[in-house]
């Protein structure tokens, strides 16, 4: 696992958006959202919002945060820390590496 799982090309993720990687690929309990920030960095969080059943990959990604598409709770892209209600629990972060335009995911590793 040390090389990570190649899960997408950078071009697959539009800037300011996300894509969900199925848990069958990541081997985690939840799908993982790959989120491309407006500075072109890529981050990964558990996909399901910690508040209700919404996919963070469908959220709004901007300036270091993703905003849940359902009730606008914001999470820090780097560490998953929740920024405001209605969610109260942090999202679980995962480590990501971008090499030669390919995105590698390291599930459960701290970013």
């Amino acid at each position: 696992m040390s090389d990570g799982i190649r899960v997408a090309s950078l071009d697959d993720i539009p800037e300011g958006e996300g894509i969900a990687i199925d848990k069958a690929i990541t081997g985690t309990d939840d799908n993982i959202a790959l989120l491309r920030d407006t500075d072109d960095t890529v981050w990964a969080l558990d996909d399901t919002c910690t508040h209700e059943d919404a996919s963070l990959a469908d959220g709004w990604v901007e300036d270091g945060f993703v905003e849940c598409p359902l009730h606008s709770s914001k999470f820090c892209l780097k560490n998953g820390e929740v920024q405001g209600l209605p969610a109260t629990k942090n999202a679980c972060p995962h480590r990501v590496e971008v090499r030669d335009g390919e995105v590698y995911l390291f599930p459960r590793e701290t970013p």
């Binding site: 469908d58 009730h71 606008s72």
Partner: protein, 404 residues
Amino acid sequence: MTRRVVIVGGGVAGVSAAGALRAGGFDGDVTLVDAGDFPYDRPPLSKEFLAGTKDIKQIALQAPEWYDDQNVRLVNRSVAAALRTGEGKVELADGTLLPADRVVLATGGGAARPPIPGIGSHRVHVLRTADDADRLRCELTPGASVLVVGAGLIGAEVASTAVLLGCEVTLVDPLATPLAAALGPELADWLHGLHGRNRVTTAQASVESFADRADGIEVRLAGAAAPQVFDTVVLGVGMVPHTKLAELAGLEVNRGIVVDTGQVTSNPAVLAVGDPARTRHDGELLPRTEHWEAAQHDGARAAATILGTPAPAGTAPWFWTDRYGRHLEAVGHMDQAAQTVLRGSLDDPAFALFGLRDGHVVAAAAVDDSTAVRAARRMIDRRVPVDADRLADPAVNLRALLRG
């Protein structure tokens, strides 16, 4: 100097004020007085909590450990009886005195009960608290006939949940198209039509009287030929702000506790936030904003005032409603729009409606397309000029439009 803050009321406004005080570095005492066992979130009361798919612990506004982590003293199962502002104390109903340099009133509101004959019947329910929802849920059994009075947000969501639980639902409202001012007539009509498309009988009517009968409650609707009998009635006809504490303390109250743009009442030691607060801006009294996020922002502004830090940046008002599996969000002021632009088709959600004025977005509302509303909010807040034709074209990326 403020060392001790007492927040009266544990809704989203009060809890947000406590959280924002700590986030802003306040290291004095923060005490939160709440009537329930712990502060819980209200939007689920008409949805998952009413349906029984979430219990009270699952709708807690904060995890139990949050209060210790944040050093917020929760005084639960308590209500404030009086503000003794001259003595710097808040008196609770049991006589306890809490020292307070500043008080934040987050007292919320109660359900309006208009003076309709028979409205005191035990079959007439309202929905403001978890206890209200628990009582109502017992009546929403399969096959029960339920009359919902008022097709605003709470009434409409209760109708949706009652259908989900197998009830026969009738929904009445004196307006032909509820929420038309907030959403524009076109979208409001579509949204109200969802009721009929989900087996709810709707009527434009007001209630003239209720009368208890052995087998139900007899309801006389204005203009109806004959009265109808229902098992249960739910009123969703508005909110009455809880202003009694403010009135007793001699604060300025005018259909709401009057505050300045920093949430300060007519007494500098007392602030007010959330549903009962009414802002005076440039000498003009604004309408109360009875929405979840507005309450959260009030709490953050009150904390900034207490901390003496700049108020958080303002943003266009936003709300959501969930019904019949559809998620609607709205942002801005649709009644200020000179022109509306539809992105997508009302026949095929998801879609979004944008309100424009002078080449700028002033409002948007969308069904199952929150990205459009997120984009619109930024277009409004940043005053981004937009082209109506490009906005209407689903092939044009809204993030790209936002970048100009």
